[in-house]
C-alpha cells in the first residue's frame, strides 16, 4: 500500500477548530479513508469534541455521538447493540478517545466492552496529556515530561496500555503512529474486517502540548518510533508482530536512537537539558526504554 493508493474519502472538513499541525485531524483523515463513510463514531470529552466545532455545525462528515469523558466504550457498546437490533451490522462502530479518556478515566468502560466481546473498534489517539483542558499529566505522560500538573517533570513512568489490552485476549490490537499513514491505514482496514473487539492506539505528537513547532508533528512521531519510545506492532489472536523500524529494533538489526534525540526538540523536556544536562534522569529514561524492549524480546520474539 503506497500513499497514491489511499482513497480520496474525506470526512474531516476544512475549517475546523483544531490547532494548526494537529495530530488528531491528521490521524482521523486516515482512519476515515480506511473505514469509509458507513461508520458511526463515539467521541468522549477530549480535543476531538472541540475539533468538531460549534453547534449547529460540525466538521465531521459522518455520524458522531458525543458522550461523557469516561463513557466512550460504553456508548459505543450501546450504538453497536442498537445497530445489531436493526440488522444494520455492516456499519462500523468506532470509539475515538484521547489517552486521558483511555488510560485513565475510561479504562473501566473499555475493559468491560472488550470482555463482553463488543463488535467495535476502539481507537486511542495518544498525545500523552490531557490536552483539551490545558496540558495536565495522564497515565500516558512519559517520565520527566513537564505538564501543568508536573511542573518539575513527571516522577512516574507511563503505563503500558498495549499490554493491559493484551490481557483481554481480544482478536486484534495494534499500535501505530500518525507519521506512518500506510501502517495506520492497513491496521484500520484489517480491524474493520475482524468481528469482535479491536483496539488501536495512535501515537499523536501535539505541538502546543509537547512544546514543539507546529510544522514538526510528523518528525516527532517518526523520532518516537526510531528512538524506541514507541513501538509499531499488531497482535492477532495473541500473536504479536512488530512492524517497520520497530521490527528491526526488536530483532536487533538496527539500534534504537537515544531517546535524547527525540526529547531535546520538545520544550516539555527542556529542564532536562537547561541550565545543565540532567544526566541522572536522562539515564533513567534510556534504561527504562531498554527494559521495555528487553521485555518485548523475552515475551514476543
Amino acid at each position: 500500500m503506497a500513499i497514491k493508493d489511499l482513497p480520496d474519502t474525506e470526512c474531516v472538513l476544512p475549517g475546523s477548530a483544531a490547532c494548526p499541525g494537529c495530530p488528531a485531524t491528521m490521524g482521523l483523515r486516515i482512519v476515515f479513508k480506511a473505514l469509509g463513510k458507513n461508520t458511526i463514531m463515539v467521541v468522549p470529552a477530549c480535543c476531538t469534541a472541540v475539533i468538531e466545532s460549534l453547534h449547529p455545525h460540525t466538521s465531521f462528515d459522518i455520524p458522531v455521538m458525543n458522550i461523557a469523558f469516561e463513557a466512550a466504550a460504553a456508548g459505543a457498546s450501546g450504538v453497536e447493540a442498537a445497530l445489531r437490533q436493526q440488522g444494520k451490522e455492516d456499519t462500523t462502530v468506532v470509539a475515538w478517545a484521547g489517552d486521558g479518556g483511555t488510560y485513565d478515566i475510561g479504562i473501566q468502560a473499555l475493559s468491560g466492552a472488550l470482555e463482553r466481546q463488543t463488535n467495535f473498534i476502539y481507537i486511542c489517539y495518544n498525545n500523552q496529556i490531557y490536552s483539551n483542558t490545558g496540558i495536565q499529566r495522564s497515565g500516558a505522560t512519559p517520565y520527566g515530561a513537564w505538564t501543568t500538573t508536573t511542573v518539575g517533570g513527571k516522577t512516574e513512568f507511563r503505563k503500558e496500555m498495549g499490554e493491559i489490552i493484551q490481557a483481554h485476549h481480544i482478536p486484534y490490537s495494534a499500535q501505530t503512529c500518525v507519521s506512518y499513514p500506510e501502517d495506520l491505514y492497513n491496521k484500520l482496514k484489517k480491524a474493520k474486517g475482524i468481528k469482535g473487539p479491536k483496539y488501536i492506539e495512535i501515537m499523536a505528537p501535539c505541538p502546543p502540548g509537547w512544546r514543539f513547532p507546529m510544522e514538526k508533528t510528523v518528525e516527532m512521531g517518526t523520532m518516537a518510533v526510531e528512538t524506541g519510545a514507541w513501538a509499531l506492532y499488531e497482535v492477532e489472536n495473541d500473536k504479536m508482530t512488530f512492524n517497520g523500524k520497530s521490527k528491526l529494533i526488536l530483532e536487533k538489526k538496527i539500534e534504537r536512537k537515544p531517546i535524547e534525540e527525540w526529547i531535546k526538540y520538545q520544550g516539555r523536556f527542556r529542564h532536562l537539558f537547561k541550565p545543565e544536562k540532567d544526566v541522572k534522569r536522562l539515564k533513567a529514561i534510556e534504561e527504562h526504554t531498554d527494559q521495555m524492549w528487553d521485555r518485548y524480546r523475552r515475551c514476543y520474539l
Binding site: 472538513l13 476544512p14 477548530a17 483544531a18 491528521m26 466545532s53 510544522e215 508533528t217 518528525e219
Partner: protein
C-alpha cells in the same frame, strides 16, 4: 441534507464550521508546480485536508482554510513547497 426531528442537540456537517480558518495563517505555503514529483506526501499529511489532490495526482492548496502550519513544506522531499510570510489584506 436530511434534518432529524428529535429532541436532542444535533449539528450538521459544514465546511468552515469555525469560519475561514485561512485567516489564522502567519506563513503561507507556496507551491512550485515545476518541482513537484506528485509523491502526495503533502496531501496525506496535511492535518486540514487543504491540500487538494487533483485527478492527475498534482496538488493544489485551498487557501480559504489552510492554517499555515507548514507541515506540507516540511514533508516535501524535493522542496516544492516553501513557506512565505503572509501579506495581510486590509
Amino acid at each position: 441534507m436530511k434534518k432529524y426531528n428529535v429532541v436532542t442537540t444535533i449539528s450538521y456537517p459544514k465546511k468552515g464550521a469555525m469560519g475561514k480558518t485561512g485567516s489564522w495563517r502567519i506563513f503561507k505555503p507556496i507551491l512550485d508546480k515545476a518541482k513537484c514529483v506528485k509523491c502526495l506526501r503533502c496531501w496525506i499529511y496535511c492535518p486540514e485536508a487543504t491540500i487538494i489532490r487533483n485527478k492527475d495526482d498534482t496538488v493544489s492548496i485551498d487557501y480559504e482554510y489552510c492554517k499555515g502550519c507548514g507541515i506540507c513544506a516540511n514533508v516535501c522531499k524535493v522542496k516544492a513547497i516553501t513557506m512565505e510570510r503572509e501579506v495581510k489584506k486590509k
